[in-house]
Symmetry: none
Subunit: 133 residues, 4 copies
Amino acid sequence: MDTPIQFQIQTGSPEPIYRQLMEQLRRRVAAGQWKAGQELPSVRELAGLLAVHPMTISKAYGLLEAEGLLQRRRGLSMVIAAGHERPAPKAERIERLRPTLERAAAEARELAIPKQQVLDLLARLLDDEGKPR
Amino acid sequence: MDTPIQFQIQTGSPEPIYRQLMEQLRRRVAAGQWKAGQELPSVRELAGLLAVHPMTISKAYGLLEAEGLLQRRRGLSMVIAAGHERPAPKAERIERLRPTLERAAAEARELAIPKQQVLDLLARLLDDEGKPR
Amino acid sequence: MDTPIQFQIQTGSPEPIYRQLMEQLRRRVAAGQWKAGQELPSVRELAGLLAVHPMTISKAYGLLEAEGLLQRRRGLSMVIAAGHERPAPKAERIERLRPTLERAAAEARELAIPKQQVLDLLARLLDDEGKPR
Amino acid sequence: MDTPIQFQIQTGSPEPIYRQLMEQLRRRVAAGQWKAGQELPSVRELAGLLAVHPMTISKAYGLLEAEGLLQRRRGLSMVIAAGHERPAPKAERIERLRPTLERAAAEARELAIPKQQVLDLLARLLDDEGKPR
DNA sequence: GTGGTCTAGACCACA
DNA sequence: GTGGTCTAGACCACC
């Protein structure tokens, strides 16, 4: 009973789409939400779903394969590579989150927003998270 | 007794330098830390301090001027434009912080890090803020 | 059957090239001669045609994008942004012309040229417009 | 009974102030409104009146002197140079106006404003001209 | 001294 | 192919 493999992208964002895809996948695998053996949507299928150029998907898949996170199987379909059966240690996952939080902290300070209000807002956003966007 | 105008940049970051400068200045002005009439470091001076090309600074200044945040004075260095004497309302500043926190929340969820641990880490980073760097 | 997007610049003019391009585009769009969705010549192509440095074109395009008049499409050339399907109201277009005419009127008065002769010359220039150059 | 020597400047304009002064003087002299021997306000006086830096006035005067339009007299005061007793021929003055009208015509065409409306507006502005601004 | 414009050219990122 | 960023450096205009 695996979490289905679905990606969320923001086309307006300055972060390139292929990189959004890669980051999402890396995080889900690190969290153990997506596991070794799970099959990914085909390039064309995902491109259709997200309404982006197939080459964009292909680039993300290719880089993840080179990185060892994905594995290309006989025909064409990709799966999460072996060796990713279990979540990464929690400490490591927290480390991965740190840069984004550091950035948030720096911005909050530049905006002179009191600590507690920053934490309140983040708490609310973490609760909301379950909701569909 | 104004906060002196100083910029911090990260040359390795994917975010372009000129945009880092713009964002920082926008936030400091919104926070009321830098105020209308304050004089900015000259293009050449800042370029020297940050060890970047003067045109990079000039681009940031020029865009901020087009935006109405800075004001050019013929033959003199630029100043924060009139109309920015007071901080933006706190609600508005919090809105500006929201996207970054939203992103952090999304990443935390993808990494399956429990809410409290995320908040703890951010709290710690907000405390550190004053000292290091 | 759109008017093709072509720019005319004067390299000798005190008005910077990138600004000439911006003004021309703004006016053509306001006039409804160039419309939302029309594709602009690529930076390199236009730079070649006008024999200027690509960065000069890029600067004009970038500023117009910040202004909302152009729209960037990743990996593709830029287009006139949505929301500019119809010409601006005639009254607004006339207002845009007013500063230049005001200047002309002031100069004519300083030169003590009779009103009718000024109007005659302008009428002639407006007629010529289609042909030369 | 000469027209008094008074200058109008626009500090917001992209045209540099010293050049505005030069152009105005050249046109008034060409029109015969200001004549040989008339005394100009002193640099400091005019700088005070217009609220600009004395060096700006000084630059304009200096260039006009080099050009032969102004003449420095014994003490310090400047006068319109000899040889400018009579207006320039009307044809020449009209030629001087042409570039500004050409520009107006080009803009009107880009804005797709009908010829008659352009002429009407200019006519109105030429009538207004007498009024103080 | 200030900022602005432009060129030449390298290198990156995206589709 | 597309646009973007940055550097190096020249030259101008203004005060």
